[in-house]
């Protein structure tokens, strides 16, 4: 059981690292981020709002992940937002006349195809963690001594 718990810890650590890094770099370069989002045909109309809403959501999910009681909600949140990002990339890759990038910091050097893979991997990690978390939680309920 320890290995599973360790897996969740690592996934959560990775998510918090990813979200805080991405949110931080977006907020620091707020104006540039608005400019980049404005070039995306999907979200250009909402760029000024999304430019702070997205990092705020990322930070909120990180906080949920860090508080053990809300960890499951954090994992659901991580899954949801990674799923959205993945869909976003899919739509952009298939329908955009030109492909702008508005990811934070070094992530913007990744290119769209590797980025898509990166997001899919993180989405799957979130799903696996939710299932493992549930198992841990259930076994904890059935047999408290396991922890």
């Amino acid at each position: 059981m320890k290995r599973r718990a360790l897996f969740i810890e690592i996934v959560i650590f990775l998510f918090v690292l990813l979200f805080l890094y991405a949110a931080g770099s977006k907020l620091i370069q707020y104006k540039e981020f608005v400019g980049q989002m404005g070039k995306s045909f999907l979200v250009s109309a909402y760029a000024p709002i999304l430019a702070w809403l997205v990092p705020v959501i990322e930070i909120a999910i990180s906080i949920l992940l860090l508080i053990p009681r809300f960890r499951l909600y954090g994992l659901y949140g991580s899954f949801f937002i990674m799923f959205l990002f993945t869909l976003y990339i899919l739509v952009i890759l298939n329908f955009a006349p030109e492909v702008p990038c508005s990811c934070g910091g070094i992530l913007s050097n990744m290119g769209w195809k590797p980025h898509l893979l990166f997001n899919v991997v993180f989405t799957i990690l979130a799903v696996i963690s939710i299932f493992i978390h549930n198992k841990e939680f259930v076994s904890f309920r059935n047999n408290p001594s396991v922890t």
Binding site: V34, S44, A45, Y76, F79, F80, I130
Partner: protein, 358 residues
Amino acid sequence: MNRIIITILSLAGVGCLIMAVLFYASAKDIRYTQEFVRLTPGISISKEAESELSFNDYYLAGILSDKIYLARKGQVDRIFEYDSSLIFLSEIALDIDTGATRFTKNAIIKIDSLNFIIQDGAVPCIMKGRIGYWKAEPLKLGSDYFDFAVPISNNTFVVQITAGEIGRNSPKKMLGIIKTDSSILRLAPSVLEGQIDEYFSNVGFLRYSKDLKCSVFTYAYRNQYILLDSMLSVIGSGRTIDSISKVKINPIEISEGKYTLASTAAIVNINTQVWNKLLMVHSNLMGNLEFRDIFDNGSPVDLYDLETKRYMASFYVPHLDNEKMQSFMVGENNNLLVIYGNKVVKYRIGFTKHYGRI
């Protein structure tokens, strides 16, 4: 277990819904939603020759009656000579007295009947030499940087410059004249008329018509071109066939003195060339009654008569192996040369009996 699957699936469903709403509410590409009619029966083009290039950074330096010259971006000391059927003849090394000059990647070579001209507005520097001798001598210039320079006579260039001190005032693009015998730059700040700013809305293309002895400036983000005499007085203006008379751009300052456009690409005119008394405009917009698959597989070029300012006809330059036309140039005998990635193609332009009948 089931509850988790249901929660995950419903979250995924909400995600899909959000994306679908965003997608349907998204600003539709302005390229496809224009109200104008393009007339293509007047002109036909036929492919005559094609040549493979070893790199994808070639551009057309010039076309003479029996020769075609290409050059590579950032390389100022080499020029590639082809015959009129695009057979490679030779690589010519230019004799340049660079001295202290450090050319940047903006440097370009242009060939024009008897002379070749190397210019780099970021140095700034203009060099000139005779075709055949291939030795370039620097011309006398002031210390003003320029975006591009177009020769209008032996010692006169029309230039576009970007003025404005970072942090003090927003940058402004304007035209001016450099006389290389006196190295004086005379600016004409009011010739270009900005709409929401003086920078992005003044982006455009400057060409010179030898036949009409005037310069033609075409705005990139709106449907207007202006004709200028050798003193940079406006002697005429015309409109391209689309209806975008007000720029659809939204510039924002991302850091001090650094601007970008915060909206989807709203370019109207991608590139222009002057051919005798005609202005050729590579347009970014699709008209009414046009087929989307033709538009998506070719580049429309519209022709305007610079004397009457009338729209004459249009034609499509088809993509080649999914590559778009990057740049084009017209020479004698109705020859149209087009660069696609690492290919150069020669077309011949033919006029049909429908040409100019509107």
